[in-house]
Amino acid sequence: MKKIIAAIALFISFQSFAQIRTVNLQASGLTCSMCSNSINKALNTIDYVTNVKANIKNSSFEISFKPGAKIDFDLLKKKVEDAGFHVAKLTAVVNFDNEKIENDRHINLNGLVLHFLNVTDQQLNGEKTIQVLDKGFVSSKDFKKNAQYTKMECYKTGVTGSCCTSSGLVAGTRIFHVTI
């Protein structure tokens, strides 16, 4: 039994995900407090969300999570869209552990694949704020504008394709395009 528990514990430890402390999300398409509240209520239905601090005036939401939870940016977006609105901007505070990043290259943070755009090559350590640039996470105008930063097809599809499977990622893995 002990061995089984140890094996499970080991398995769980390998499942620890990239540490995302908070997400700040700005929604578009609304002005009033009632619309803001419908997004607020929708975000609060996610089981690993611990707190949503709304700024009604700016239509923005600071979202906190349970420690160690796997944060799914797509689920946050879906909650906003199900409430009837769209995401205008999403930033996340991520805890990096000496990760080397390069422009127009991706890194795999324990299952969270981030493809950096419009950045200088550098070493990331400690908490940094990243902005998600994928379709549906910025205005459609900005999505078109940001296309200048990469020629890779994964920018349009949001998943690994022939452009980025050489690093060992399975084709079709969700990949988030981000900047600092």
Binding site: Q26, A27, S28, G29, L30, T31, C32, S33, M34, C35, S36, N37, S38, N40, K41, A42, T45, A54, I56, K57, N58, S59, E81, D82, A83, G84, F85, H86, A88, S139
Partner: protein, 270 residues
């Protein structure tokens, strides 16, 4: 009657922006997916000939099936035929086909359809699927929100069938089809600046509602101002008045009051 109206002191919540939550028409925006809304619409319309006020109670349940599709189911009760009775029901569906959102503004287009049955006596050639006629309609609505102001315009083709219980459409068959339209405007008046969900929102709305019958070319055009209170960002009370500017297309009761109370349950089902 006043007591009845005042006793319905429950309010509402909705996912579209408050200043486009029009009272006499629907905006192109939908309620949140997985939400349920309950409405009690009370109208008190003055009969043109007798001066008597007819009370109509229209309970309504709204379901957000997805971000783009919602349905309403309505019931119609009134004392128009002297005894307060149930007269009919309707189902309404709205599908958002276009949505362009930016921070603090949006433009949306939706298609909608309604089918109604009614057993009341017919007194007028104007077609009213919410409480008078059996029939159906299909239309389109466009809504633009910019900061604290919302504009909306919609139009629909309306067809009247015979009312149930052998109450035939009382005018000639050539008058069964009409075009109904609305132009609506709403402004968020209060609060001046948002600080919390607890602030009461006050909206002022002005709607122009019209109908033209294809058979005889006759029309009515009404003006309908409304004041709306949103409380705790989830409850709603509308008080409105409607009066006729153009009365060419006959109606038995043109002017009157509306009090709408609405309660919304967010994330009500999986």
């Amino acid at each position: 009657m006043k007591n009845i109206l005042l006793s319905f002191l429950i309010f509402s919540g909705y996912s579209v922006c408050a200043q486009e939550l029009f009272t006499w028409s629907e905006p192109a925006s939908n309620m949140a997916a997985k939400g349920i809304g309950i409405r009690l619409n009370n109208t008190l319309m003055k009969e043109n000939n007798s001066g008597k006020y007819n009370y109509h109670l229209l309970p309504e349940v709204m379901l957000g099936l997805s971000a783009n599709l919602m349905i309403h189911v309505e019931g119609f009760l009134s004392n128009a035929d002297d005894k307060f009775t149930a007269e009919g029901a309707a189902i309404y569906a709205k599908y958002r086909i276009f949505s362009e959102d930016e921070v603090h503004n949006h433009f949306r287009i939706a298609l909608y359809t309604r089918a109604a049955i009614n057993n009341s006596d017919l007194h007028q050639p104007a077609i009213e699927l919410s409480g008078h006629n059996s029939g159906y309609e299909a239309g389109m609505v466009l809504t633009k929100l910019v900061n604290k102001i919302a504009y909306s315009a919609g139009g629909s083709l309306v067809h009247a069938t015979n009312n149930s219980r052998d109450k035939k459409y009382f005018v000639n068959d050539g008058l069964r089809n009409a075009f109904a339209w609305n132009v609506s405007f709403g402004k968020l008046m209060l609060p001046k600046e948002y600080t919390s969900y607890g602030q009461t929102n006050v909206n002022l709305m002005m709607e122009v509602l019209g109908q033209t019958n294809f058979g005889n070319g006759r029309s009515y055009v009404d003006i309908a101002p409304t004041i709306q209170f949103i409380i705790l960002s989830k409850m709603r009370l509308d008080a409105g008045y409607r009066f006729a500017m153009v009365k060419d297309l006959g109606r038995s009761a043109t002017n009157g009051f509306l009090l709408r109370l609405e309660y919304n349950i967010f994330n009500a089902f999986k």
